[in-house]
Amino acid sequence: MSTVRDIAVTVNGRRYERAVEPRLLLSDFLRRDLGLTGTHVGCEHGVCGACTVLFDGEPVRSCLLLAVQADGHELATVEGLAPGPDRLHPLQEAFWECHALQCGFCTPGFLMTLVPFLEENPDPSEDEIRHALSGNLCRCTGYQHIVDAVLRAAEKARAEAG
């Protein structure tokens, strides 16, 4: 009853064509079919935010989408953030500098949530940051250092722009 479908998606600027079962979750498609294991799978019911990716530029939970729904759409995952093999994205750099991760399991989800947040709101208050990351769970550091990292990344971006 579940027949395989052909889909074509663009992930981090690269086009992929695959055949998938309709019930395959987008998170599993990214990890298993495309080998992009930077997207982490935590709760698989939309609570933890670890699997957050960008779908046409907007952060979404990839465990709450089917891979077939991504057909024809553009995705971005944490693998696409860094501009080069030995360079980090400014937010990744700020996470590093501010100790905003410990085990790192939740980090890709935080980054993929907060990168578009900072693009939309380059000068966020601490309160706005806490609100923005409320859909992502971290079980080891607590959130203070993550908030610090976002403030730092925003500050650096403004300094560079200004």
């Binding site: 698989e44 949530t113 859909g135």
Partner: protein, 293 residues
């Protein structure tokens, strides 16, 4: 934690979607934003034989002014759009105030207006807001359609007036009367969690400052959005003082809700929250009504 197999349909026209619904009826589930449906499919609490995905359907993602001066919202409009759309802030500020309380941005980027209403979760924000605003819903089926008022639409826990072959396609909100203030408030343990209690309040004042009409709808205190009609009747014609609001809140908390206690909030605590939120929401709505005179 993976969905069971299903037949997947992604119709590219409303007619095709309605034909599929007529064909599959109750064996099919409609996939809108999927932010409630996919989790229960992942848990295999739902194992529909067929999934009808509306995300390829054109024409159901819109927000526009109606000829009457109200607001029409397409069922597939993402909740996130309501936060950003100036027309919503202008014509339905209660909606604009309520939407940021729905889960998290990642969820609102996918979650739809129609999906939330059709899911009929009594803890959800949009059903209570729709009832407070006297929204009406357009339900389409193969070969016809009908309009139903929000208050009649919600039947009980995850239950609506919709037949299996019907599809919610549009929400229409009447134009806000002059001198009308609004407030949406809820209490949740963490931002984005389900509300322990929430209230959507509207107050319309007479020119002299008396209350012409109050409208109060609550979430998480019953098996569907709860309208506090007695409290509203009590306020009508009165000067909405703090005392009058407190008396109305007392009526709501004692007589008009039927909350169920859970691990984090007993029924008595929910009554207490209802009382406090009602007073606060009425105060805010009355202030805003005054500013709009």
């Amino acid at each position: 934690m993976k969905p069971a197999p299903f037949a997947y349909e992604a119709p590219d026209s409303l007619g095709a979607a309605l034909d599929l619904l007529a064909l599959h009826g109750g064996d099919a589930k409609v996939l809108a934003g999927g932010q409630s449906l996919i989790p229960v499919m992942n848990f295999r609490l739902a194992q529909p034989a067929a999934l009808i995905d509306l995300n390829r359907l054109p024409g159901l993602d819109f927000v526009r002014r109606t000829p009457a001066g109200g607001l029409a919202i397409g069922a597939m409009t993402r909740q996130r759009r309501l936060e950003r759309e100036p027309l919503v802030a202008e014509l339905a500020p209660l909606v604009a105030e309520a939407v940021p309380h729905i889960a998290h941005p990642q969820i609102r980027n996918r979650g739809t207006v129609g999906g939330s209403l059709a899911h009929a979760d009594p803890a959800a924000e949009l059903p209570a807001v729709a009832v407070a605003l006297r929204a009406r819903f357009r339900l389409a089926r193969a070969g016809g359609e009908r309009w139903v008022e929000a208050e009649r639409f919600f039947g009980g826990l995850f239950t609506t007036d919709m037949a299996p072959e019907e599809l919610l396609v549009e929400v229409e909100l009447p134009p806000p009367p002059p001198r009308t203030g609004w407030a949406f408030m809820e209490v949740a343990r963490r931002h984005g969690d389900y509300a322990q209690v929430g209230v959507a309040a509207l107050v319309t004042l007479e020119e002299g400052g008396r209350c012409r009409e109050a409208r109060l709808a609550f979430l998480s205190v019953g098996d569907k959005p709860v309208v506090a009609a007695r409290a509203a009747a009590q306020l009508a014609g009165e000067v909405p003082t703090a005392e009058a609001s407190a008396a109305a809140a007392e009526t709501v908390a004692r007589e008009e809700i039927d909350p169920t206690g859970d691990l984090h909030a007993s029924a008595a605590f929910k009554r207490h929250l209802t009382r406090v939120l009602t007073v606060r929401a009425l105060k805010r709505a009355v202030e805003r009504a005054g500013e709009r005179s």
